[in-house]
Symmetry: C2
């Protein structure tokens, strides 16, 4: 038996593009690798490498690339170079949202001409307490002036909501609680929400129930993104369920970089390559060149000195050898 | 920020059980770890360890466990102990199918009172040639007397069909070709078919299209199992699509053991733990005790001296430490 003849999966026309009924024609990938990914890497990545990473991601066709975070350097030393990094990439012809934890962070971002910002809220009291040392409502009150000021400055605001499907301290999280916080974030002016499964415990029925409840509560599905972690291997199945419920914005991290350092079971974001593979197979347009993306993530894994957890990346990189 | 309070995900009631519309109430997992898994491990596993593995899987609630293969020892030396192993486990109160490549293998299996056997066909000419040195139709002609003799002996016959979604030599595989071979296997008497994505290139729309085509061709969905590989991370999303099309039999391998040694990009079967996690979250009954399954696969990984690729296994094992 021979293994010859395997001349590159993509070149062989695989995956075969076969649309499924009821799915969107196009999906916008919100690439979080440079921020959510690198924030959670032990290695300190030089600013020049970060800038190159973002440029390569844009060159691979990603149109929304979360670039960095204007959180206090004490909390996230990996992204302490936001002031140096952002001006190096801000003229790229892509959307470059940045995370802002508070008014001070927002002002730093706006001073550098950032036009898209994101705040980071929690669906649960335990994580709000752990992450922000506040109750959920106190955290919302803290974000309210940040969002207002950002909107006044003409910026697009994304609201991240963590622990939407389970919490490592509380266990189950009621759908009604998530809906309540989503409504509050919308009411204060967030243009877009990202539903985070921070510890990776969501399953497809749960995803569908939350999206249905949000729709019924008047939160437009078009304003929602999903942010799944692959801790239990469920991220892509959950993404499929979200697409079936009308979601068209999916967060992913090139090469599967990152996770959450404050939730020990959060072992990684959905890898952008695995997502692009599925969407390509479904005939859904993303604008991403998978070969270029794989080359970029393989290069970044080399910079970090560790292999990527992305299965598609490993399969396609293997082919190239 | 603290990571304390994480006292075991399952004990916290996670994943939350939220059914999705249109899915089956119960799924039968066809566990392939002891055969398809161990067949593809470099390490030679002692017969006693294999028997203990099967006993532990049965104790964890798996009801169909593919035990071994009666292929010639020269081709699969890892399973050369089929004659010694099978009598050690055949009295377990579970179904224990065995692979039989030809009449000789079938006779060996029947002599040991095997009541469920499986043959292994190919949907593509290239893989039939590589795996069996025959055309597809020549291979079907070879299996015909095997299936007839097995049925005459009262055995249940499963027909594996490999390369249903793509072939490493040919690239795309026409749905019509897969339907044709499935029809032939059904016509010769196979009770059940397992649709194999041997190189892991299936995506959910493709899964739906094939299942729809088989249904339209008169192959009952209830006679179909799906056998996905996680080479590109798609196995669980594809499984969800299959469940949505009425499939209730899913192949999986404890701890994600195995793959296919003759297709270099086939890096692993769907891990049973990741499947059970999703089904548990969907409120679908499998009869499997996830804690016991994780303990079994962790033990087996120790026997093999390598970590398991199952994400659920790693996440839950981490919790226990």
């Amino acid at each position: 038996m021979s293994t010859s003849g395997d001349g590159g999966t993509l070149a062989l026309g695989l995956p075969m593009a076969v649309p499924a009924p009821g799915l969107p024609a196009r999906v916008r990938i919100h690439e979080v690798g440079p921020r959510d990914g690198l924030q959670n890497e032990k290695a300190t990545v030089p600013t020049e490498v970060k800038a190159e990473f973002i440029r390569r991601l844009a060159d691979a066709g990603l149109t929304t690339i979360e670039a960095t975070s204007f959180v206090h350097p004490r909390w996230v030393p990996q992204l302490a170079d936001a002031e140096q990094l952002f001006p190096q990439v801000r003229d790229l012809p892509v959307d470059l949202p940045v995370l802002v934890p508070n008014t001070r962070g927002l002002e730093r971002a706006l001073a550098l001409d950032a036009t898209r910002v994101a705040v980071f809220a929690s669906a649960t009291e335990s994580f709000a307490k752990a992450n922000l040392n506040r109750t959920v409502d106190e955290a919302l009150a803290m974000f309210e002036p940040v969002v207002r000021q950002a909107k006044d400055a003409g910026a697009h605001v994304r609201g991240y909501l963590s622990m939407c499907f389970g919490d490592p301290w509380e266990g189950q999280v009621a759908v009604e609680q998530v809906v309540r916080v989503c409504r509050a974030l919308r009411d204060m002016g967030c243009d877009e929400l990202s539903l985070g499964d921070t510890i990776g415990v969501a399953t497809p029925g749960h995803v569908g129930r939350l999206l249905t409840a949000l729709n019924e509560a008047g939160v437009p599905t078009g304003s929602l993104g999903v942010h799944f972690h692959d801790t239990y291997g469920q991220a892509l199945a959950n993404t499929l369920a979200a697409l079936q419920h009308g979601v068209t914005t999916v967060d992913a991290s090139a090469g599967g970089l990152g996770g959450c350092p404050y939730a020990k079971s959060a072992t990684g974001n959905l890898a952008t390559e695995d997502l692009v593979w599925m969407l390509r197979g479904l005939g859904i347009d993303t604008g991403v060149d998978l070969d270029r993306l794989v080359a970029t993530s393989a290069w970044m894994a080399g910079q970090l000195g560790r292999p990527s957890p992305s299965r598609t990346l490993r399969a396609l990189s293997h082919k190239e050898q």
